[in-house]
């Protein structure tokens, strides 16, 4: 065997569970003078590219009670065109030149607002130019129509039992943290939002120093960097954003328990614990979530179980909703699941299988440039560490029984527990 072959074999062995085609060294990072962080990953197999612009702003920045929903409203207005291109022109132009609309096109979360353009690589200049345009020249035309659209969305959310239950649950879990508000905002607040408030929010948070631009696909680094400089270098930071302390951990207030009378025949139980946003803790929590979901699915008294930690949804609360086969099982299930959590043992084949399944699911997510760009932007904003995208599969392996035990003894305690019964 030649020397090269030996090296190759060793590399294959040590890297076998990391993405074989890309690694962190392929991602080129830079920061413009105005503070815009840029990540470029060249992938040349097909002439496609994804441009993701992630802003460090989410519903936690709505801040003031009575003014919830601003971050989400702002995301909607960002699709309403700029001073240079109307909403209709934008839609026509984007689709005519191969742009695709997906769930990643625009999204708001608790901590993040993310935009994604996904087009053939010959449209890279348009994509960069439009993101610069979107950052500073939104037209705010169609404000009233968009408010109607958002109110429709809010009504749809309210009609979903899980959504409704969960937003009430989170609100009860955090007394004085804006994390308590739903991303879309409370319907009463949305009604009252004015165009001036949205404009002001835009000026405050849509700034280069508050954003990360991620480009993944068939582009050349130097040329792309030049285009970014060309369109973004003159954009100034209008305002310095306030800082929401993501990692602030509220003292445990003691167990919270609420019961709600159901309007219909349905019954449900939500149980959760406040947790910090912590990149080392996240994989351990994800493993525990998958494990408990697995156990709930096997319980014959459970009709359906939903874990609210999924799809790498970074959160300040770990919770799950249980729909019983019958109302009469609510108390039994509550005692059973509390006991499972208090005596959380994660060993042997169960843990091994869960970790293998999570890895398979993780790799399946990242078949497109768009998903990779979104993940890089998201981790860069929330954890200030885009390399987390590459490290996550290995970090899951570190969710050992000891790590799980330690985490559960710290956070899954009665004083930190919230229980909500719908019956």
């Amino acid at each position: 065997m030649s020397y090269q072959k030996i090296i190759f074999t060793l590399l294959c062995f040590t890297c076998q569970l990391v993405f074989p085609q890309i690694n962190p060294d392929d991602v080129r990072e830079s920061t413009l003078a105005n503070g815009l962080k840029v990540l470029i990953l060249e992938l040349h197999e097909f002439p496609l590219v994804a441009v993701n612009m992630s802003y460090n702003v989410g519903s936690v920045h709505d801040a003031q009670e009575g003014m919830t929903g601003l971050a989400h409203f702002m995301e909607h207005m960002s699709l309403r065109g700029t001073e240079s291109i109307s909403a209709k022109e934008l839609l026509d132009y984007y689709q005519k030149h191969g742009g695709v609309i997906t769930k990643r096109t625009a999204a708001t979360g608790k901590f993040l607002t993310s935009f994604n353009l996904s087009m053939p690589s010959n449209m890279i200049e348009f994509m960069i130019k439009f993101e610069a345009d979107r950052m500073k020249n939104l037209s705010f035309y169609g404000f009233d129509e968009e408010k109607k659209v958002i109110l429709s969305e809010s009504k749809i959310n309210e009609s979903n039992l899980f959504e409704k239950l969960h937003s009430g649950f989170v609100a009860r879990s955090f007394a004085d943290d804006p994390f308590r508000n739903p991303v879309i905002g409370w319907a009463n607040d949305i009604e009252k939002i004015t165009i001036e408030q949205v404009r002001s929010f835009y000026r405050k948070y849509y700034n280069p120093q508050n954003a990360v631009l991620c480009i993944v696909g068939d582009v050349e680094y130097e040329k792309t960097q030049e285009l970014i400089e060309k369109y973004f270098k003159d954009i100034q930071n209008d305002d310095t954003s306030d800082v929401y302390e993501v990692n602030k951990i509220c003292p445990f207030p003691g167990e919270i328990k609420n019961e709600i009378r159901s309007e219909g025949a349905e019954s449900a139980l939500e149980i959760g614990f406040r947790i910090p946003v912590d990149k080392d803790l996240q994989p351990v929590i994800d493993v525990v979530g998958a494990m408990l979901k697995n156990r709930l699915d096997r319980n014959e008294n459970v009709k359906k179980a939903v874990i609210n930690i999924s799809d790498l949804a970074v959160s300040k609360i770990f919770s799950f909703i249980i729909i019983p086969q019958d109302k009469k099982y609510i108390d039994t299930l509550e005692h059973w699941i509390c006991s499972e959590i208090e005596n959380l043992n994660a060993e042997g084949d169960e843990l091994k299988n869960i970790i293998a399944k999570m890895k398979t699911g993780y790799y399946r997510k990242f078949y497109t440039n768009e998903e990779i760009a979104y993940a890089l932007g998201k981790f860069s904003i929330i954890f200030n560490d885009w390399k987390y995208f590459f490290e996550y599969p290995e970090l899951i392996e570190k969710a050992t029984p000891a790590a799980i035990f330690e985490m559960s003894k710290k956070y899954f305690v009665k004083d930190n527990r919230n229980i909500l019964e719908l019956y």
Binding site: L91, Q95, K96, G142, L151, I156, E263, I355, Y363
Partner: protein, 416 residues
């Protein structure tokens, strides 16, 4: 030996800049020409008649194996459901061992068949091969089964229920048990296998080569026109869930499938409809949060399905607006700009499809199962280009006119 697929080296398309519209402040943009080709798909026909498709893929440490079972050309979803549940039930032990490796397993009904997808970390590929050998060489479903594998009554989401109710009217179909599976299922089976990832192909061949593959087609549906007349042109209001605060709207048509000459015209018509719905109902009027039109095709039949969740106060305005739009599209000349955008969008969608090996394989396997010509995928891009505006106009006039429209509203509101 594996050989290059016939299509692999022939396909090449160019997307040039002649379509670039100069608008607003975006006039000075330079757009370079791009070219792309179809990834190489290796094919092999085994002695037992099973065709294997293989695409090299090292983008992740996963092996993806697809197995398509086609047992007839019927659209009968009852049999699909029954096989799905039967498969899970009778191979439960095998699936347990497979799931211990973290494998993800899905089964998706296609017309007259099922497509199984297995994703597994490459280190466990031998476990997957063992499972395939044991499970797919012995498909027997001897007794009626409940409609869910675990025996639990699954909660049905309102959106799912709306889809079921719509399909019942469109296909005049009912749910069933595995008693509906023909006893001679083994005799009517056609298997197509697709593999993406790094795996020993000889091992795959030795496993797949043992499977039974007898092909007998039962052409149950020759003419989709005979379907759904009973409900066409009527609006079916279903009050099923009293607590619902949102109305679930399904409007659509039964149309020909992929094996029809009008397939590409249908694709384009659907794109035009989808864009117009989004623009007129959401962007212009602010009537709703989401609405879409999808062309869901099978071999001989398909459906064009408009889906939306609507504020109950606005349901009537939404259905009126959709009806007006459909009437307008049927009666007026298609806007050239809309037509061009729809065509180019579909061509770019094709580029995205071939850039994803999993999607490409699944699509290729279905083309094979439906006996489409070998060069169907090679000519796909060009066929979109060659479709004429009058062909699409004809679709709107003949297939998508409001006389054929089936409407289903799932609502909690009595007045709707």
């Amino acid at each position: 030996m594996f050989r290059s697929g016939k299509s692999a080296l022939l396909f090449c398309a160019v997307l040039a800049n002649q379509l670039i519209a100069q608008i607003g402040g975006y006039n000075s943009l330079v757009v370079e020409e791009i070219t792309f080709g179809l990834p190489e798909i290796k094919t092999e026909l085994l002695d037992n008649g099973i065709k294997i498709f293989h695409v090299d893929d090292n983008s992740s440490p996963l092996i993806n194996i697809y197995i398509l079972l086609k047992y007839s050309s019927t659209s009968n979803s009852r049999i699909s459901k029954a096989i799905q549940y039967g498969f899970i039930k009778y191979h439960h032990a095998g699936i347990d061992s497979l799931q211990q490796t973290g494998a993800e397993i899905y089964s998706t009904p296609i017309e007259g068949g099922l497509l199984f997808t297995f994703s597994i970390l490459s280190e466990y590929s031998d476990v997957l091969l063992g499972f395939i050998e044991n499970s797919f060489s012995n498909i027997t479903i001897p007794e009626p089964l409940p409609l869910t594998p675990s025996g639990k009554k699954e909660p049905v989401q309102a959106s799912e229920l709306a889809d079921i109710e719509f399909d019942k009217r469109l296909f005049d179909d009912d749910s069933a048990t595995t008693a509906d599976i023909p006893k001679n299922i083994i005799d009517t089976l056609k298997i197509v296998v697709g593999i993406a990832g790094q795996i020993d192909l000889n091992l795959i061949k030795s496993v797949v080569g043992k499977l039974i593959n007898n092909i007998v087609f039962e052409n149950i549906i020759e003419n989709c026109e005979s379907y759904s007349k009973k409900y066409a042109g009527t609006q079916n209001k279903i009050k099923t869930i009293s607590r619902l605060k949102t109305d679930y709207l399904r409007m659509g048509y039964l149309v020909p499938g992929i094996c029809n000459d009008n397939y590409f015209a249908l694709l384009i018509a659907n794109e035009i409809l989808d864009r117009r719905l989004l623009y007129q109902l959401r962007m212009k009027k602010g009537l709703l949060y989401q609405i879409s039109s999808n062309y869901l095709w099978s071999e001989k039949i398909g459906k064009i399905l408009i889906s939306s969740k609507v504020d109950p106060d606005k349901t009537s305005e939404v259905t009126d607006s959709v009806n007006s739009l459909l009437t307008e599209l049927a009666e007026s000349t298609i806007d050239t700009k809309d037509f061009t955008i729809a065509k180019t969008k579909l061509q770019y969608d094709f580029l995205r499809l071939i850039s994803n090996v999993s999607l490409l394989l699944k699509e290729t396997m279905q083309f094979e199962a439906f006996d489409l010509p070998d060069d169907f995928i090679v000519e796909y891009f060009e066929r979109i280009e060659k479709t004429m505006v009058y062909e699409v106009q004809k679709i709107f006039k003949e297939n998508l006119n409001t006389n054929n429209l089936v409407t289903v509203i799932l609502s909690g509101n009595k007045s709707n």
